[in-house]
């Protein structure tokens, strides 16, 4: 059997589940809108950054947030799959663990990208002037963020066996990664030590790339952003795949 067929089968399973679980899709669109409204409109009433309306400033960051949380939650859902033994069916099928990982990863990327695409389309409705050129250029950065974050999620999902560890990941990995990525505020005013830490955050490059092409407010060249994010993504892909291989052997 060709490996692609098997990867496609895993992806198809995830996609069919996604299509049937509308609650998950709806909630992942509503919460970024809430952020945009509460922070963008609320805080934006008294704050502007570099002469740009705050709602506009955080829009790329909120898209990055949607991608990140959807992807990581999706990945950690593997814990649930394992608890309910759904995963066993896949683990005894004649395909490698790496292919199981790739199929799952692509499934998560699809979910997250659909959500982000809906948000991008809503930009016009919300009065956020994002050109179709800007949106199109943002796509490669969005894709890299999603692949990177889904892999991180699947890695944690494969390594941890309880939801309690999920809380720890939330507090020590997800929130810091989000807060210090520049999604909500510019990073240049941070104290030096903290500013240098942000360079180890893959989301920093994703947010910068998106803000660069959408608003013309990038701090680093677009190509550099993509390159660094690409390296992070390769590392997390490798981490996720090897975690799946170990999980399969038990």
């Amino acid at each position: 059997m060709s490996e692609l067929e098997a990867i496609y089968a895993i992806w198809l399973r995830e996609f069919r589940v996604y299509l049937r679980e509308k609650e998950r899709a709806i909630s992942s669109i509503v919460s970024p809108l809430l952020w945009l409204f509460a922070f963008g409109t609320g805080l934006g009433a008294s704050v502007a950054i570099a002469g740009v309306n705050y709602q506009l400033f955080i829009f790329p960051g909120i898209i990055a947030m949607t991608l990140m949380f959807t992807s990581i939650f999706y990945g950690m859902y593997v814990i649930w799959d394992r608890k309910l033994d759904f995963l066993k069916e896949v683990l005894v099928a004649p395909l490698s663990r790496r292919d199981v990982f790739l199929g799952k990863m692509l499934g998560g990327v699809t979910d997250a990208m659909i959500q982000a695409a809906v948000l991008l389309m809503l930009a016009g409705v919300l009065g956020i002037p994002v050109t179709s050129y800007g949106a199109l250029m943002a796509l490669p950065a969005m894709l890299l963020i999603t692949v990177c974050m889904t892999s991180i999620g699947l890695f944690f999902g494969a390594v941890f066996s309880s939801f309690e560890s999920f809380q720890l990941v939330m507090q020590f990995v997800l929130w810091p990664m989000f807060f210090f990525s520049g999604a909500l505020f510019p990073l240049e005013n941070l104290p030096g030590w903290l500013a240098s830490l942000t360079y180890f955050d893959p989301l920093t490059y994703g947010v910068d790339a998106m803000r660069g092409v959408m608003l013309g407010m990038g701090k680093m060249p677009f190509e550099i952003d993509l390159l660094v994010l690409g390296v992070f993504t390769l590392v997390t892909l490798w981490m996720g795949a090897s975690a799946f291989e170990r999980m399969g052997k038990i």
Binding site: K88, P94, K249
Partner: protein, 326 residues
């Protein structure tokens, strides 16, 4: 070549030996039963044979493929019906089977035909587009059986296929298994239901604490016990037991409360003689019962404990299961 050949297979979890160097083989087309209480090592054996667990030592082949070195070929040639439901409740019955078929590389047309065939076999044809979430436990198990068969495996593993089902549904599942047996597929079944092993299996391995205590057809296993089992209730069981021994009716009667029991070759002829001897000795008999031995008696004979008594001590089983790390 036998469907399954197991050679000194062993599995240890942190020093605890779950499967203790067992060896046996299963013929093609055979319905082979692993009978034992919870925690005996049945599921662990199945997990090793289906390549979900790596053995600590020993080896096994399934359809001629080595479970250690050729796991993908093993997985391709087997079907599995798990003890815990693994069908996806978030999908329809059809989708569950469709994805499974794709995972096993079945082409479009063949997949469609086969899905219809197996759904009809387990009588879920009308339910194919319903979400599995709405299915009862019995229906999920049937769907799981259908899925295990979809890719026409040469060996089907059934891990406690009727666990937790009501007696009527259990009978129903038995019928499907019988139907499959006629189709010629080899099946390995684990169970702790004695009547299930007795009713279904061509051969049964009695497994206890990770070891195979006996392996034969249910008929031959029961033959080991002898012809009949005689059970007598009496006011003075000890006195009765002494008398039975002295008169040469049996060598070692078991006394349990008011009940004396022992097995004999031909009980029918013996019962009147026992009655006569008892009345001569002045021992009052309240009830006398003669029956054919069951697998339960065989189980007690080999393990020294009743499978039912062990069953209630379920705590050990849960711990064993967690040790698998799923």
């Amino acid at each position: 070549m036998d469907a399954v050949i197991v050679d000194k297979l062993e599995k240890k979890f942190n020093g605890f030996t779950a499967v203790d160097k067992i060896s046996f083989s299963m013929k093609r087309g055979e319905l082979f039963g692993l009978l034992g209480p919870n925690g005996a090592g049945k599921s662990t054996t199945i997990y090793m044979l289906t390549t979900l667990l790596k053995p600590t030592s020993g080896s096994a082949t399934v359809n001629g493929f080595d479970i250690r070195t050729d796991s993908e070929a093993v997985r391709k040639s087997i079907g599995i019906v798990f003890q815990d439901p693994t069908v996806d409740i978030r999908l329809t019955a059809y989708d569950n089977l469709d994805i499974h078929g794709r995972l096993y590389g079945m082409s479009g047309q063949k997949r469609k035909e086969r899905i219809k065939e197996v759904l009809d076999l387990v009588e879920l044809g009308e339910w194919k587009d319903k979400m599995v979430r709405t299915f009862s436990g019995g229906m999920r198990r049937r769907l799981e059986i259908a899925r295990g068969l979809l890719h026409t495996p040469e060996v089907l593993f059934l891990d406690e296929p009727t666990l937790g089902l009501d007696p009527q549904t259990r009978r129903h599942i038995w019928q499907y298994i019988e139907k499959l047996r006629k189709g010629g597929i080899a099946m390995m079944l684990t169970t702790h239901y004695l009547e299930e092993a007795d009713y279904l299996c061509d051969r049964v391995a009695i497994i206890d604490r990770g070891r195979i205590k006996a392996l034969d057809t249910p008929r031959s296993l029961k033959g080991i016990i002898g012809g009949n089992i005689i059970r007598i209730e009496a006011r003075e069981p000890q006195k009765l037991a002494e008398m039975l021994k002295k008169s040469g009716f049996c060598k070692a009667p078991k006394v349990d409360g008011a009940v004396v029991s022992f097995d004999v070759k031909e009980g029918g002829k013996l019962v009147p003689k026992i009655m006569e001897a008892a009345s001569k000795a002045g021992i009052e008999i309240e009830n006398i019962e003669m029956r054919l031995p069951s697998l339960e008696d065989v189980f007690i004979h080999y393990t020294g404990t009743s499978i039912r008594a062990e069953k209630s001590a379920g705590g050990g089983m849960m711990m064993g299961r967690r040790a698998h790390g799923f």
